[in-house]
Symmetry: C2
Subunit: 269 residues, 2 copies
Amino acid sequence: MPNIRKLLRASPNLKVADEDAARKPLSSGDKAADKQLVEDLARQISDLQDILYAQCKHKVLVVLQGMDTSGKDGTVRGVFGRIDPLGVRSVPFKAPTEPEKSRDFLWRIHQQVPAVGELVIFNRSHYEDVLITRVHDWIDEAECKRRLAHIRDFERMLSETGTVIVKCFLHISAKEQKARLEERIADPNKHWKLQPDDLKERKFWDDYQKQYETAIRATDADHAPWYVVPADSKTHRNLAIANIVLETLQDLKLAYPPANPAYADLKVD
Amino acid sequence: MPNIRKLLRASPNLKVADEDAARKPLSSGDKAADKQLVEDLARQISDLQDILYAQCKHKVLVVLQGMDTSGKDGTVRGVFGRIDPLGVRSVPFKAPTEPEKSRDFLWRIHQQVPAVGELVIFNRSHYEDVLITRVHDWIDEAECKRRLAHIRDFERMLSETGTVIVKCFLHISAKEQKARLEERIADPNKHWKLQPDDLKERKFWDDYQKQYETAIRATDADHAPWYVVPADSKTHRNLAIANIVLETLQDLKLAYPPANPAYADLKVD
């Protein structure tokens, strides 16, 4: 499967409504084999992350965005769950707190960007500030445009100061979301993941899709690419994101820092 | 003295070498009277800051930059020293730490920007990242240009998200710096302010002036103006900065939140 990133990269003319969330372009057709492949890829990502951490040179930021139940948490576990927590940091962004609201919307985001040697996963992100906020008219179109420009500037700055950025839109269908919400309702152990408001947000489905389309088109760039990940299948979603991340890490030509010849003669008393 | 900001605003063709650091365009000619005026202005600033804090609407950022001994600490004390510490925050930026160096140069800066209701003073700032770094060739000209663009984007974003920005270049002459350094050397109680390296940096005087000129010209904007403050006289420096800050606060048309008529009838048991 050469260059999966090209295959899933958001098109400049992206129409979210036309994107089939159920397609599985990367699947072998055998679910067990696909799952095994995800495992293999997750281990390769873990191996490369070990070098990333040792080399302490690159910074990697993975942004996960998607509707409720689209599988952001599942991706963190399934794709990044093999990495030593030393070098990986998953940052969930919830509704902003009062101190966060009393600064610009990028304030809390900037604090969490990766240091050298780190791979950071944003579970939701600054994109919420142009999605839910715009869908509910908490900000007008002019403010939304300004924020999209701020995001472009911010991500370009991060890129120019050495951060590799990968942005994944976990694209599910309204029908699949319904099934997943019903599953959560049926399982008391999953009630903690459920907010009654989640059910209300479904009414704004088309607005959300439209706003994702606007945000993705406005902020896709070669240094901060968006990938549209068909996510109705959890296995395929992980397969896609694992491949995207692995290809990105492979591009970095990571290498352990050079060995120190003098160390070979060291004796430990 | 109408609109002191116009008088001291950096010109687009600023030539730092041509700026007279000893001039005192705001002085009454009577030093005692000037000092008294600084006191009065500092109190007016304090009164307005109290409203700023109560209103919890505006954010104000004052950036102080200047060569060693140019009077940044003295300005914090002399101009902002009357404000209740509840609503004012002075943030000194020293050489970046390892965690700070492992992110982009704006990371530590962004964390310290004012919240609504706050007046924040940056004692040195992100401008160090295009001054000392460029003077000593730690970054090349292309990187310096990129950083200046990052600063422009960052300050525009801060402005568009509600932060009022004031930037003061405390301009002293090489001769005045010599006198102040000698004073520090002569007074054991001032040795804590002295680094032997400060004396070495004097050799790069002209480079620093040139780099200040480049940075100021590249980042002056109506939403983030630079003021060139003649600072050989400490009293005049305070007089100038107090006036600039006061005029800026007056523009905000600050007002205490409306009284609640129902409160008038409240009884305290």
